[in-house]
């Protein structure tokens, strides 16, 4: 009751403190949401694909940050292998295009329009490409450059018509765009080059045996099953983004701990006499330590509350200002951040509790 009374007594100060704390928590929420968004956008293409096996140039491990070049002539040979149902080539190109007087980058993905395999994970508006002069854009990219279905996008010397808008293709720093394989090969100027083959096996086929057979038939290639390839891409994405996000989240946590420790220490300084009185009157040590912890927990919980209230409008504003900043929120993230905040709240009460232990009951007689 005393912890709550202290807070009620100085409600304005604690309200402002809670709002300050909420901004740190908001930052933590936002960074985690960005991580989740980038994670989703970077690997959803592989995760949602239908391919049982991915064939890449030897030594290539992923499609995010490694180069793989293979001859397109392997397709026919691959189709002849027992247990193979379909083989779809895909060509990835990092391309710069000029849009509204600015340079924009796209991760152009050339696919076979007929099969549709290797195409966008989910089309939310319009349709997939059907011909060489069409393109499907990521939702964030389209929103950023205010491109709608039916608009024309200049790619090299051509203008491609936007036929669809897709999701699960925003990698934060760059977005996927889907064009025909032939158009992609025209762009790089090599007719018989592709990046990878996506293989769909016959139902019930032994994937390990199939992989071994493909490896023995073709030179300088590597074959991954879907899970291994997904894991490779996840690792590649995480190695790039996690250290940065981790440092920023760590800084937020340190700032949060510092704010909490500071405000609790100030409270203890102001209530120095009250703590001495409580000690003189026989307050058990645990009572006073518990009091400091309760103060910390109340402030953290109210900061968490405000943080959650601010979070969804802020995400919506961020999405409007910078559509490429992909965010994804789940109840699990809220649970994780809430647990971290409560842990920080416990850590923050250590230093103030040390200050409390230095208050002597004798001081009441001064």
């Amino acid at each position: 009751m005393y912890a709550l009374s202290i807070i009620i007594e100085q409600r304005l100060r604690y309200l402002l403190t809670s709002i300050g704390i909420s901004f740190c928590i908001l930052l933590m929420f936002l960074l985690l949401a960005i991580y989740k968004g980038v994670s989703y956008g970077s690997v959803e293409y592989v995760r949602s694909g239908k391919a049982d096996l991915w064939i890449l140039q030897e030594h290539a491990t992923n499609i995010l940050r490694s180069t793989s070049l293979l001859p397109s002539t392997y397709q026919e040979g691959l189709m002849k292998i027992n247990g193979v149902r379909s083989v779809s080539p895909v060509l990835f190109i990092l391309a710069s295009i000029k849009l509204r007087e600015t340079n924009a980058s796209l991760y152009l993905t050339g696919i076979e329009p007929d099969s549709g395999i290797g195409g966008p994970p989910e089309i939310i508006r319009g349709r997939n490409i059907l011909s060489d002069n069409e393109i499907v854009l990521d939702m964030a990219f389209a929103a950023k450059y205010k491109i709608r279905i039916g608009d024309k996008v200049p790619v090299r010397n051509d203008s491609l018509i936007v036929t669809g808008i897709c999701t699960g293709t925003n990698m934060f720093v760059i977005q996927y765009a889907f064009i025909s394989l032939k158009k992609a090969q025209d762009i790089i100027g090599f007719r018989y080059v592709i990046s990878a083959y996506q293989v769909i096996a016959m139902p019930g086929a032994d994937l390990d045996a199939l992989r071994t057979e493909i490896c023995s038939e073709f030179k300088n290639i590597i074959v991954y099953d879907r899970m291994t390839f997904l894991k490779n891409n996840m690792q590649e994405m995480e190695s790039g983004i996690i250290p940065i996000l981790f440092i920023v989240i760590l800084i937020s946590a340190i700032v949060l701990t510092a704010i909490l420790s500071l405000i609790l220490s100030v409270s203890i300084l102001e209530k120095h006499r009250d703590f001495a009185v409580m000690k003189a009157l026989g307050a058990p040590n645990g009572f006073i330590q518990g009091l400091v912890f309760k103060l910390s927990a109340i402030l953290s919980a109210s900061g968490l509350f405000f943080g959650l209230i601010f979070y969804f409008p802020v995400v919506s504003i961020v999405g409007k200002i910078a559509p490429e900043v992909a965010t994804k929120t789940s109840p699990m993230q809220i649970v994780v951040i809430s647990s971290c905040v409560m842990l920080i709240s416990a850590l923050s009460s250590i230093l103030p509790n040390l200050n409390v232990s230095k208050i002597y009951p004798l001081e009441v007689f001064k």
Binding site: M1, Y2, S5, I6, I8, E9, R273, D274, V277, M278, K279, A280, L281, G282, A283, P284, N285, F287, Y360, P361, L362, V364, F365
Partner: protein
């Protein structure tokens, strides 16, 4: 050393020196004294005479430089830190000159808090605290904050807080210092009544010589030395 039976507090040849070097200030010199149940003891002396040191030794808040302090028939040195905390919570009540009520809490919460320190169950705390407030005529102020009540009322709250755990020893430091003279005497009379009715021992440190008539024992301190008791 003789530990007197049924004695609440006993000082035997107690001296207290702050900054324990030969040049340190001597607050108390060779004091011997005993406090028994039902006594109201007045400790008179000018500022700096050692009254506060005397009270803090009785409360077990500090240890003497030499001599023995016996509280509730046990040497002070035999009490652990937790036992001393428990002693202050359950068996010793405090009344301070400036009342030292917790300003964030209501009158009732101030009284209930010390009961919580003594480990009393929450439900019982409210009922007992209200009974004491009623006995002291301040039950209507139970939900008031200390900042909203008069000095005399604050002192009554402080008395309720000191008595509520059934403390056998009440230590009062200048309890009339911040009160108008009539109010001050009323407070001391109230304490004396509780002391007689409930067989508690009240030790009052004060400058106020009007209290002498109410005290069962008067001690004079001057420069840390106890002058011969006026009445014993």
């Amino acid at each position: 050393m003789i530990v007197k039976k049924n004695t609440i507090a006993q000082l035997i040849n107690v001296s207290k020196r702050y900054d324990e070097t030969s040049r340190g200030t001597i607050a108390l010199k060779n004091i011997s004294f005993a406090a028994n149940p039902g006594e109201m003891i007045l400790l008179l002396g000018p500022s700096g005479s050692g009254k506060t040191t005397f009270l803090t030794l009785l409360a077990g808040m500090q240890r003497p430089t030499s001599g023995e302090v016996i509280l509730f028939e046990k040497h002070l040195t035999e009490y652990s830190r937790n036992e001393l905390q428990e002693l202050r919570a359950k068996r010793i009540g405090f009344i301070f000159q400036t009342f030292l009520l917790l300003e964030s809490l209501t009158v009732l919460q101030n009284v209930m808090m010390v009961m919580r320190f003594a480990g009393t169950e929450k439900d019982k705390c409210r009922m007992t605290a209200m009974t004491y407030l009623k006995q002291l005529g301040i039950q209507d102020l139970s939900d008031s904050l200390p900042s909203k009540i008069s000095q005399g009322e604050k002192q009554r709250v402080a008395i309720a807080r000191a008595l509520v755990n059934g403390a056998e020893l009440i230590i009062a430091d200048e309890p009339t210092g911040n009160l108008a003279s009539r109010q001050g005497m009323e407070i001391v009379e109230l304490l004396k009544q509780r002391c007689i009715d409930e067989n508690r021992c009240v030790i009052i440190a004060s400058h106020d010589e009007r209290i002498i008539s109410l005290a069962s024992k008067v001690l004079y301190l001057n420069d840390g030395e106890m002058l011969k008791p006026d009445r014993e």
